[in-house]
């Protein structure tokens, strides 16, 4: 127990070091092109390869190509929410202003990618399963994730005092994180119409490598793209809050402004 406070304190200083808004803006500006351009290139390469050059599946035919959009979208829907939950811990424990701003910006991006996952899944389900939608455990838990995102977006903007919104939304994000293992393991715990995972940590992927490579490329591209959009939005939010604090306190002009941004 004696080691814990120092660990918590050390973690705190680490986060504070990289979350100082000024340092974040400098780092973000350097990082941005390294995220944006690889994201565009990898996504285009992955989708081009997947949609035009990879082989069709032996039983699903060309419909299998929806996978190259659906799988990255599904992975990022969960990963984005995990990011939201991480921001919630940083916000609740270390009262990190940057974590709050990031949470505001991750929400809409995550909701969009979850909507893309649900839409492509539905388009894939109709020709293969014979139905647009069923209430099985996997589909339902992802729909719940979508509503959690919508709730987070609404809650974090619902208060006149933003601090109260940040706190309420952080609690929602943490509570909603319970859905993540349910999504992941739904296809193993219960029988579902959705098939189990093809790519697992333990076994060989049950997917031909000629399909796995374009899928890996497009997943990497989508992930970098998600990070690039969130970073750009968070930078814009930090700058916006700096400008707002400058405008609201005209006496504290000049050098001191960078210190009390956000």
């Amino acid at each position: 127990m004696s080691a814990t406070p120092t660990l918590v304190a050390r973690a705190g200083t680490f986060f504070h070091r990289y979350a100082n808004p000024g340092r974040f803006l400098k780092l973000g500006a350097r990082l941005q092109p390294w995220l944006t351009w690889p994201a565009l290139l990898l996504t285009l390469a992955g989708l081009g390869w997947g949609l035009f050059f990879s082989p069709a599946d032996w039983q699903q035919g060309d419909s299998v190509r929806i996978m190259y959009v659906h799988v990255p979208a599904a992975m990022l829907a969960s990963a984005g929410y995990a990011g939201l939950a991480l921001c919630a811990v940083l916000s609740l424990v270390w009262r990190h202003p940057l974590a709050d701003l990031a949470a505001v910006e991750i929400g809409p991006v995550g909701a969009c990618i979850t909507a893309l996952c649900l839409a492509t899944g539905s388009l894939w389900g109709k020709p293969m399963w014979g139905t647009w939608w069923v209430w099985d455990a996997r589909l339902t838990s992802v729909l719940v994730l979508f509503f959690l995102y919508l709730g987070h977006i609404a809650l974090i903007r619902a208060f006149d005092d933003p601090q109260r919104g940040y706190k309420a939304a952080a609690i929602l994000a943490l509570a909603g994180a319970v859905d993540l293992p349910v999504i992941k393991f739904s296809v193993q715990w219960w029988n579902t119409l959705h098939q189990p995972d093809s790519i697992t940590l333990t076994g060989a992927p049950t997917m031909s490598s000629s399909m796995l490579w374009p899928l890996a490329l497009s997943t990497l591209g989508f992930s970098l793209g998600f990070a690039a959009i969130v970073l750009a939005r968070t930078r814009a939010a930090v700058m916006e809050s700096r400008i707002r604090s400058l405008l609201s306190s005209p006496r504290r002009r000049g050098g001191s402004a960078s210190g009390d941004a956000a």
């Binding site: 918590v8 039983q59 509570a175 997917m207």
Partner: protein, 186 residues
């Protein structure tokens, strides 16, 4: 203990409690969360004839009988989970993925003479491979899709379309009926 440490433990405790509550709840409702029941469950305790159930399992090879009543196609097939089999009767057009050896979910009611489906959903598995690789596996005798899952993924997932074509090529000319008979299971 600083305030930050206290808050961290509080957050951990809350998340742990919430996770436990959710786990218990899902465990309790586990029988309602499953999407389908298996043939052996249906045979062990038959649901009342007016209750719609979803019956899931594999279509037994050689059990599919198709006929036509006027314009409506009628299909009869056995669905099995390996232990028991139930005969399903379905009026209408089956999904494209329907074939012998495929997993399906039939939505309907259990009658005295078998299961009467109002809807049949095809459930595809988690294996993805090009057509040529599937043909090569079938030809080498490693896999017959009518009898279930393909062999372990490591034995085929690095096989390229070119490799598969090479395997298929020598006997392609005499074995012309082979590609024609492949979709016959459909």
């Amino acid at each position: 203990m600083t305030r930050k440490t206290r808050r961290l433990w509080l957050v951990i405790a809350c998340v742990a409690c919430l996770g436990a509550a959710a786990a218990l709840m899902l465990k309790a409702f586990s029988s309602d969360i499953v999407f389908f029941v298996t043939p052996s469950q249906v045979l062990a305790s038959a649901p009342p004839a007016d209750r719609t159930v979803r019956l899931g399992g594999m279509v037994v090879a050689g059990s599919v009988k198709r006929e036509k009543q006027g314009e409506t196609p009628i299909a009869r097939f056995d669905v099995t989970d390996g232990q028991a089999a139930v005969t399903v009767r379905y009026e209408g057009i089956l999904p494209d993925l329907f074939r012998e050896g495929q997993s399906v979910v039939a939505v309907g009611t259990m009658q005295k003479d078998g299961f009467v489906a109002s809807e049949v959903l095809a459930k595809h598995d988690e294996t993805y491979m090009p057509k040529e690789v599937a043909e090569a596996l079938k030809k080498s005798g490693k896999w017959d899709p009518r009898f279930g899952a393909p062999p372990s993924a490591a034995s085929w997932n690095s096989m390229t379309v070119q490799d598969a074509k090479k395997d298929l090529a020598p006997s392609a000319a005499p074995a012309t009926p082979a590609p024609a008979s492949a979709p016959a299971g459909n």
